[in-house]
Amino acid sequence: MEADSLNSLVTGAIWRAEQLEAHNIKSAPQAWAEVSSLEEELAKVLPVSGPEGRIARRGAVRAALKAGDYARAEAMAGCYSAEDAAPKSLKTELAKILEEDTRAMARRFRYAARHHSPREARDLARRFRQAGAFGLAA
């Protein structure tokens, strides 16, 4: 798909997600997942050397976090940071986005954060998703 069409789609998707979030509608995370998916498509057609390519890459990661999908956000941030032409500033920003989300999670679950680091909790969640409930016991 062409960048123009994707730009129109991501514009509408961000607008919808913002409106749902503003009204505390439960499906807001799904709307952000759609935004992340469209930003990812834009990132495929726009080079990281251009401003719009970098905006799309940051957008894909941020929207995945708003959708509650840390694993996807982390994977995309890793991919985008590994691109040959990725400027240092983008790598720093992507790392900052993930760090800010981790800090927000630690603030939200203060008691749990005293016993487990957010990284441990996320690692556990990832293993749970990959192996299922019985996989953890193995």
Binding site: Q19, P51, I55, R62, S89
Partner: protein, 175 residues
Amino acid sequence: MDINLAQLREMHARLPADLALVMVGRAMLALERSGHKSGVPLSLDLERILSSGLLIWPGAALSELDQHDYNRITEDGAEAVVLAVAHRHRAWCIVRRMQREEYADWLLEDTAGGRRQVVALEVSGVDRGSILARLGMKLTQVAKSVDADQRWAGVVGFERPIMALHSTKRRKRGS
């Protein structure tokens, strides 16, 4: 200069039609609930150059007012007015909407100088009172936006229709 809100979609081809309808609808409600009718004079402050125009719209159904969030009418209405004026005065076209963490609502393109430049634009609306404080706040916000060649803030006051569109100093991309 006439600024016809009904032409917003024609001005910005990448703006989804349903979104343009909602934004223009809310702009009409914002203007009419402040007692204005289509053809009202709009005072313009474009980079501190003062002028005026006529703001035209097809007419709102004020009976629908209660179906919309009060603040959204002001904010979304302001977006329609600023985007229409930005196109009429600068020939800017929307590229896309941005997530709020980019410190701007819209990314536009400016092809006037022969070289395409991207413009980060932050927009806000004020229902009553002066727009100056809000404009300062929005300029501070948009100045943090990275990856744009130009950074601008546009604020609309609906009480006595007024709009200001100011830029921050030009910075190098990505700095």
